[in-house]
Amino acid sequence: MTATMERETKTAKRLVDYSTHDGVAVVALNDPPANTYTYEMMLQIDEAVRDARMDDSVYVIVLRGAGEKFFSAGANIAMLNSVTPQFKYYFCLHANETLNRLEHTPKLVIAALNGHTVGGGLEIAMAADLRIARREAGKIGLPEVNLGVLPGTGGTQRLSRLVGKSRAIEMMVLGQTFSFDKAQEMGLVNEVWDGKPDEWWERVMLYARQFCPPNKASKAVGSIKRAVCSGLEVPFESALAIERELQQLLFQSQDAKEGIGAYVEKRVAAFKGK
């Protein structure tokens, strides 16, 4: 009873807005002014991911920051300054578990970088499958070294997997932040789009919806993601086994039957995500 009360107290303040729109779950980090995250916010992100997982009508998850200036500036420094090293350890562990949960979810995750995406903010974004930024909306980077620490929410590992070992080390030891355009050149960001915040967001949602039924076989989308995410972390032979098993599941799916049938009949397929 006490524990439950305590949890309710901790999570009473809404720090994450969760909503669904035509197959797309939007998870907005919402703690102005910089959407920095605390243990409480991470719990709510975790809860949102689980909600999106369990909702059969959700096919794509979009992460964004509330407002127009920040996706997220990372971990809340004031919070870090006030807690014990042990708390910090468990805080990081839980953050890792939460971001892993995103990667383990066979639904496409898109990070919509609507503003500055630095430190832990970028670490969250790197756990997404795709990153779409608004041009000139902010900076991106992992400047943790300036605080005498490292990017400890998976940053050192995910960045090196995205941009390569040497570039990742260079970027992190310099503590460099840079434009989204440069991030795109490095392969850290998939798309950088112009536009006013509202127009840009509308475009992000259109982009996300293309991966939902009836346009796309979302089960195949999710399996492609899982094959890549898990396959990259195991020996090649095992990765091929993962791919093969997922493919077999897809071969048995309604969507594969529909997709192949529609192609032969030269008509647009109506996928159901099943």
């Binding site: 798309e191 259109l206 346009n215 008509r267 647009v268």
Partner: protein
């Protein structure tokens, strides 16, 4: 390498391309190149799977990447033909038979460049980096190097009979293509077509009028004119695409490209034979125009004709087969000599060059017969 990041950068490249081609005439330099969108004729997708849905205002509204890729390809091909035609025709600027004809060809070339400009704008503005890359390539491929995407647009346009035949038959094919794109589900493309069709009609008129004036003057033998028809008409047939085309079928299913008579034809489309249907309509139209030319040729046995569909085709069911202009099969060993006899040869080109220096080989504009 992408050099084009904005449409302004593309226009710089366009000016360089103009300079490379030596298009220095004031009328061409000062032509106001601009993007024109016509009034929307239909707000909703008119055919195919998405019929009844609102037309797509941006590429991102298109629900499937395959549709986006195909759409981009359609625009690239259209744009490629526009710049190619200017490359093919530019040499004629120096030997126009009259001031009227010079102004006509300059207008045709300027408007073809505007059409290329319009297609490039769509690519740069709507299709992201890939579109910018393709818009750049529209100015890098060259007809004289044989690198334009469609066969007709790598052929040489050598003289004014060539030009009038080209505008009569190839630009008329262009009219068909533009009309088919005018019902596209991609709204910016559909709305581009109204102004382009209006301008294109002048080009067709130029070709038809020029041929009427040549036939009326009576100095160029109909047999020579026929050889130029034999050169251009089969390539125009090819431009409609292969028979039983899957691509055409998908374009229709996706609402990207309709039939030529899409808005007037109450029947369901025969999706397996879309290209054949458009080609047949085109053939009917050019047959009528050739009949009008024949009214000016007294000797019936010298009348001009539209080559039969199987003659000298490079794509489709008749591709690379041996047929006469009348559609009769011919032995393969006799075919090369036959082809040389019915297509314009070096002697024809030289004779025309000489003839074009003489006054009276083409009737003046004021003596025009019926126009297109």
């Amino acid at each position: 390498m992408i050099r084009v990041h904005t449409f302004d950068e593309w226009t710089d490249l366009f000016r360089s391309w103009q300079n490379d081609l030596g298009l220095e005439a004031r009328e061409l330099r000062e032509f106001k190149f601009e993007v024109k969108f016509g009034e929307p004729e239909a707000e909703y997708i008119e055919f195919g799977h998405f019929k009844g849905q609102r037309k797509w205002p941006t590429v991102m509204h298109i629900p499937d990447q395959r549709i986006r890729d195909t759409l981009q390809n359609l625009i690239v091909y259209q744009g490629d033909t526009e710049f190619a035609s200017v490359e093919q025709q530019r040499n004629l600027l120096h030997n126009a038979p009259s001031d009227y004809d010079l102004l006509s060809i300059m207008r045709v070339m300027a408007e073809e460049m505007r059409h290329g400009w319009q297609m490039s704008f769509l690519l740069v503005d709507y299709f992201g980096d890939e579109g910018k890359r393709e818009a750049q390539k529209l100015l890098e491929r060259r007809a004289e190097e044989g690198k334009r995407l469609l066969g007709s647009f790598n052929e040489r346009v050598d003289n004014w009979l060539d030009f009038f035949t080209y505008t009569q038959f190839i630009d008329r094919d262009g009219k068909f293509q533009l009309k088919m794109l005018s019902t596209s589900g991609f709204h910016p493309l559909a709305r581009s077509m109204g102004p382009m069709l209006k301008e294109e009609s002048y080009h067709l008129g130029t070709g038809n009028n020029g041929l009427l004036r040549i036939v009326k003057a009576g100095l160029v033998p109909p047999e020579v004119i026929q050889r130029f028809f034999n050169k251009w008409v089969p390539t125009a047939f090819d431009l409609f695409g292969t028979d039983n085309s899957s691509s055409a079928q998908w374009c229709y299913e996706w609402g990207l490209k309709g039939r030529f008579d899409e808005r007037d034809n109450p029947r369901d489309a025969d999706r397996g034979r879309l290209n054949e249907a458009s080609r047949a309509l085109y053939r009917d139209e050019i047959c009528r125009l050739v009949d009008r030319l024949n009214q000016l040729i007294p000797e019936r046995e010298r009348w001009l004709k539209v080559p039969a569909l199987p003659f000298n085709r490079r794509i489709g069911q008749w591709a690379r087969q041996c047929f006469t202009v009348d559609g009769e099969p011919l032995a393969a060993d006799r075919y090369p000599a036959y082809l040389a006899s019915v297509l314009p040869g070096p002697a024809d080109y030289q004779a025309l060059r000489d003839l074009c220096k003489e006054p009276g080989w083409i009737a003046p504009k004021k003596q025009d017969g019926p126009d297109a």
